[in-house]
Amino acid sequence: MDQHPRRLCLFVALLCITVKSLAFSNEDKNITISEQKERYEFEAGDKENPVIIRQNLSATYRCNQFRTSIPFVAFYDDRSRIDEVRVYVSGSRAKAIKPTYQNYTVDDIFYSDARICALELPLEKKGAESTVELDKTVLDPRYFSAVYFTEGYEIASKEIQIVIPRWMKVEIREMNFDKFDIRKTAEYNSKRDVDIYTYTAKQLPARVKETNAPGPSYVYPHLLILSKYADLKTGRVNYFNKTADLYAWYHSLVKEIGDDETVVKAKALEITKGISADTAKINAVYHWMQDNIRYIAFEDGIAGFKPEKVQNVLQHKYGDCKGMANLTRGLLKALGYDARLCWIGTDHIAYDYSIPSLAVDNHMICALNYKGKRYFLDATETYIGLDQYAQRIQGRQVMIEDGEKYILDHVPSRNWQQNSAVEKRVLHIDNGALAGKVQQQWDGESKEDLLTQVHGIKKEKLQDALLQYLAENNNKYHINNIHTSDLANWDKLVDIQYELQYQDAVTGFGDELYTELDFRKELSGFIIDTAKREHDMLFSYKHHVINETTLEVPAGYKVGALPEDLKIDRPDYAFNITYKLNSGKIAYHKELIIKNAWLAKAGFCQWNTDIQALDKAYLQQITLSKK
């Protein structure tokens, strides 16, 4: 909240001139990078930073069609620094162009030590080139984990050179090279006792930003730099030689936390007061964490890896994933349960713990071993039940603390049935309307979706908003006598029942009545533009939609025509629609299943064909004819 938010908001909005900002597009390749060279050299540092990495970058941008200027941005943080930036415009040093240095702010991160060095780079005319040279120092090899080949612009020629003294043990892993022509040379410079690895690539395509796309580590060619150890004159400095070293480092940070167990025990007892069953206690702790601790993301230097003390999270009532995992563990441990901290990479990251690197994980959760079963509790998922898992962590490898050792396990995968959204209606025709009773239920991630929206609505508007949500803003869809299960309890599925009067849903022409029984038409029009889409498509979770509607055929009418059924069953998804006539009732059944949340590009054409078939099915009506 900014200064004086209450007083000004009304009028600022009123007086502002709105200028639509239209995103910069480089689809036409007005700008390309004619040459980019990056050199990374490991060097011995000082006592505080025994090994540092010097980076020299030179990127030359070319204007191909018409003059413009482009933003140049370089990132740095507490563990790195930008030493110098030099800009050349059309071959001449442009000293007047000075970069600005400031924090990099992202909407959903409250505070991060990430900073940007930014400048506006002019390209003077068609055919002109401008170059940025940047010198940067990374102060700790642990944080120098990956070098990517691609940029926001197409690159004609790219060279990445990594210079590693023999005293430094580094493994370089080449990732996603298969679709790109990247060549490698290695030489040993005996004079300097260094190995020089040079990678060159030509005509690299530009990175493309798309929604619902896999993380860059799945897609773009890059080098994973695994710094294992350094044999310096002062002795060996261990980095991440093996996964055990990665764990040892994490564990050393955990040991430094300094939790106050007394405070947390008192809270655990307060939360579970009057509860005797173990599962109820565990549920109560998880629910309390989800409901009372706000997620606020901090990414701040070493604090970006070290969980906050339990007493601090408890006192603040907010925390990042590490702090929330630590407090969840603390509360459960205080009650005598075997709870452990876990490190995990969400499905945004392509790696697992076979790679000893900080690039492997980006999240922390809590594991609970109870009666021979292991549960994973992620309190940052605010409205999901115990033993239910969000898509982003399902099936992901997880590193679980185990004293000086660690355990590798996987978060269970769940199929679509965890996330069922079921709607059952029993309807009859009432004077041009479809009327009757409706029951809707949501579970798993569909429940989490619903409750996130519900709790994001102001209390005074909740009832109206809920009705609008159920009616999908259709003002002919009148809902009465609504009964909802406790929307503050997400341990069970959410159940909403109501009476429906859907006006004008039946149209009469002469002796015939026409109507349709699907009011929601999920996935309708979900055609993927294969000409534009570059990446695979990721669904937010494995959806499962069931709609069962029964329509009583009105007296004096018979069913003239029933729409055709639809049955599509693919490995990744299934669409099923059936109509049955039985004892004067039409039974409509629809089931949509996204079995695999990851739809590969190779499957887009089939998907589009199937969506067209689904759309066609949605565009069919029931005909009732007068007897």
């Binding site: 200028v19 600005t100 505070y111």
Partner: protein, 744 residues
């Protein structure tokens, strides 16, 4: 090293040392000051903040403001300043503004709203003319449901970020939960030059949440002149004098949450008090230090605006000369090309369009290449545009006067506080006056913004001679009329046929936009390359900038670059048309076969914006056995929906302007099918506020449907709300209308 250089180096070093020491000192002093301010604010003797009252447990509000208090102080203080060669006692302006709120949080939305603060502890007020520093101090306390109170250690909890070379502090409020009461304040203290402005004050007696008590206390020294106005039923301050100056107090209880957000004009509907605080006396401006003036008379504002106009006219006179030469040069070229003089009555129009061309259309070699859609959204400084234009008009002996109008969304002529409340238009004098203003790239002569409709505006022709003074008696009154629904209209002719598979609609659409409905679509769909060329030709400018560049050795490559940029903009135009169709029909067209601008609507004598599109739509034809159902109601696109909570309305209705939407649909009935249900489409709702009519004519192989929706007035009193709802509901009803294509 010479002595001179040595001295310079020392001075630079000193300066750096001083800046550094100043910073460290600032931070030390800030902490002390913040502590003192928190002590002071928490100890305010306002009973409403002292105890959380019992609130109903079932309260439906997301949040309730239990108490809100604004404390404002303005004084001048003496300060010792280091000015390079010695010390000098200097007077500075001191201004502080504290807003304290105590809010009960009833749900997660409210919790989220109050859970984070960001502020700048120090904000430089230095500019070319002024110097000063603003300091922001924040205090937060949390009161738990059991009555226990905890103060947040703000200085310890904040994290700092760099933002535009200044430090921004962010605070996540700890231990804040639903059910808590947050008691927080934000104080801004400014120490700055005496001639600096103090922020205009607005005390708004309304919010999106109920306010149980709203109070204001201002202490303003006699060094200041205070002018304030209470509007829309806001109460007056209790004003008393003390030794230092004037003290203002106000207390209002039980303000309900704001009623609706649809079609409101907050400046004219919500009780509020606006206040100006000005340093010193300026008798010529009627400004007397120590005086408090409530609800200033219109004449006073007129005097002030006249002075302001005089000053601005002088300021813009210099630049106006060069621009006049450019317009005259264009005019000479026009005369040469057309071999004739312009008729006198055409001159004002020519001048306006020539100046618009110079301001927005003409391209010089140093310009950035911006020829895509973003160019169409450029908004000018209207005042600057008009003063230059007036200079040019004067130079060309076209008498013109300034019309000082107020927006329907700002304070009215009877509620003015200062000259900033006026917007400007120009109007030529004579038997056929022409209004001129510049809302954007496509504004033409005679255009009057819909925001000014229905307003009475003073108008004055500024005297040209320095010896003759402009006088308040010279003001005349200009009554700005309302535009009609016929003037602001969208007319569409839509030919529809079905494809052989009876799945797609083939749509051939001809769209005409008039009046205030034009500008948004012009901005979305027009190409600079096209409108530049149209205006260049109309003004008879001999060569294009592309030709000029091609002839110049230095800029030759620019012509090629512009060709490339034009090609890209033209390619992007297809997406803009796709977006426009998608927005209207709520369906992305399957294919867009044709899009064409027929008339750009750039000038008053050809003002309509007209375009043609040909595309296919899917999803509006449904199969029912051998028959097909057409979603006829969706052929005019989605209609405005009034939310349930907006239906019960207690305030007047400020619509943007009267307007109408007309659709003439011709549906080709596919061979082998018979059309049924056309008669059910017919509808006639017509009342004082608007109308919605549907009329069908069935011919042998064609159905003609004429649909017209009219909002008759820009303003409706709340008593007419039900009439308006009747029209809105009729349009919504139409959405679900269907036609049957029955297999013959």
């Amino acid at each position: 090293m010479s002595v001179k250089i040595l001295f310079y180096t020392v001075a630079v070093l000193l300066l750096h040392t001083q800046v550094y020491a100043q910073k460290a000192k600032d931070i030390r002093e800030y902490k002390e000051r913040a502590e003192a301010v928190r002590q002071e604010v928490w100890n305010w003797d306002i009973p409403a903040f002292k105890k959380v009252p019992a609130l109903p447990a079932d309260d439906k509000s997301s949040a309730i403001v239990i108490a809100k208090h604004v404390d404002l102080k303005a004084s001048s203080i003496k300060k010792i300043k280091f000015i390079g060669i010695g010390f000098k006692v200097k007077k500075d302006l001191f201004y502080s503004n504290t807003v304290r709120e105590m809010v009960k949080l009833n749900d997660k939305v409210a919790l989220e709203e109050y859970s984070q603060f960001s502020f700048k502890k120090f904000r430089s007020l230095n500019s070319y003319y002024h110097s000063g520093l603003a300091t922001t101090i924040v205090g937060v306390r949390i009161i738990k449901p059991d009555g226990s109170m905890k103060e947040v250690k703000v200085d310890e909890e904040i994290v700092n970020e760099e933002e535009n070379k200044e430090q921004k502090s962010k605070l996540a409020i700890p231990d804040l939960q639903v059910g808590d009461v947050i008691d927080y304040f934000v104080r801004v203290e400014e120490l700055k030059d005496l001639n600096s402005d103090i922020d205009a004050q607005i005390f708004v007696l309304g919010d999106d949440k109920p306010i149980m008590q709203y109070s204001v206390h201002c202490e303003i020294s006699d060094k200041y002149f205070v002018r304030y106005r209470s509007a829309n039923g806001a109460p007056d301050f209790k004003v008393k004098k003390d030794d230092d100056g004037s003290v203002f107090d106000m207390l209002v209880k039980n303000i309900p949450s704001l009623p609706v957000s649809l079609w409101m004009s907050p400046y004219r509907q919500i009780p509020l008090i606006r206040m100006d605080i000005l340093y010193g006396s300026y008798p010529a401006a009627g400004q007397v230090a120590g005086e408090v003036r409530h609800n200033p008379k219109q004449a006073e504002i007129k005097e002030a605006i006249l002075r302001s106009l005089d000053g601005e006219k002088n300021a813009f006179a210099m630049g106006g000369g060069a621009l006049t030469s450019q317009v005259k040069s264009l005019l000479r070229e026009y005369k040469r090309t057309n071999n004739s003089d312009l008729p006198n009555d055409s001159l004002p129009y020519y001048v306006y369009y020539a100046f618009r061309y110079i301001a927005f259309y003409r391209v010089s070699a140093d310009d950035k290449i911006v020829v895509g859609r973003q160019r169409n959204y450029v908004t000018p400084n209207n005042k600057k545009f008009l003063f230059y234009l007036e200079e040019i008009m004067n130079a060309m002996d076209i008498p013109a006067e300034f019309v000082l109008v107020t927006s329907r969304y700002g304070p009215g002529q009877d509620e003015l506080l200062n000259t900033g409340d006026y917007e400007y238009m120009l109007k030529t004098k004579g038997s056929q006056p022409v209004f001129m203003s510049a809302d954007g790239v496509f504004t033409h002569c005679t255009y009057v913004s819909s925001e000014y409709e229905g307003q009475t505006a003073p108008a004055i022709e500024l005297m040209k001679s320095k010896k003759r003074k402009n006088d308040i008696t010279a003001f005349t009154e200009e009554k700005i009329g309302y535009s009609t629904a016929d003037q602001n209209t969208k007319i569409e002719h839509i030919e529809i046929s079905l494809d052989d598979a009876m799945q797609q609609l083939l749509v051939n659409r001809h769209t005409t936009l008039k009046g205030s409905l034009r500008a948004d679509e012009q901005k979305r769909l027009l190409l600079f390359e096209d409108y530049y060329e149209a205006e260049r030709t109309a003004l008879a400018v001999k060569s294009t900038f592309m030709e000029d560049f091609a002839d110049s050795r230095r800029n030759r490559s620019l012509a090629e670059e512009y060709t490339n940029a034009f090609a890209k903009a033209r390619k992007d135009q297809k997406d803009d048309f796709m977006e426009e169709i998608n927005e209207q029909f709520d369906i992305k067209p399957k294919e867009l076969m044709l899009y064409h601008i027929d008339k750009m609507g750039l000038r008053h004598d050809d003002p309509d914006f007209v375009y043609t599109t040909k595309f296919t739509l899917e999803g509006l034809v449904k199969k029912a056995g051998n028959n097909y159902i057409l979603d006829a109601g969706k052929l005019i696109g989605g209609q405005l929906r009034v939310k349930p909570e907006q239906r019960d309305r207690k305030v007047d209705i400020y619509q943007p302007f009267a307007r109408s939407f007309e659709y003439n649909i011709e549906l080709v009935i596919p061979k082998g099918y018979k059309l049924e249900g056309a008669d059910k489409l017919d509808k006639l709702i017509d009342n004082a506020c608007g109308s919605f009519t549907v009329k069908t004519t069935l011919e042998a192989d064609k159905l003609k449907v004429h649909i017209r929706k009219v909002y008759k007035n820009a303003f409706e009193p709340v008593a007419k709300w039900n009439d308006l709802l009747q029209v809105i509901d009729a349009a919504i009803d139409f959405e679900s209308q269907k036609l049957l294509l029955k297999k013959a």
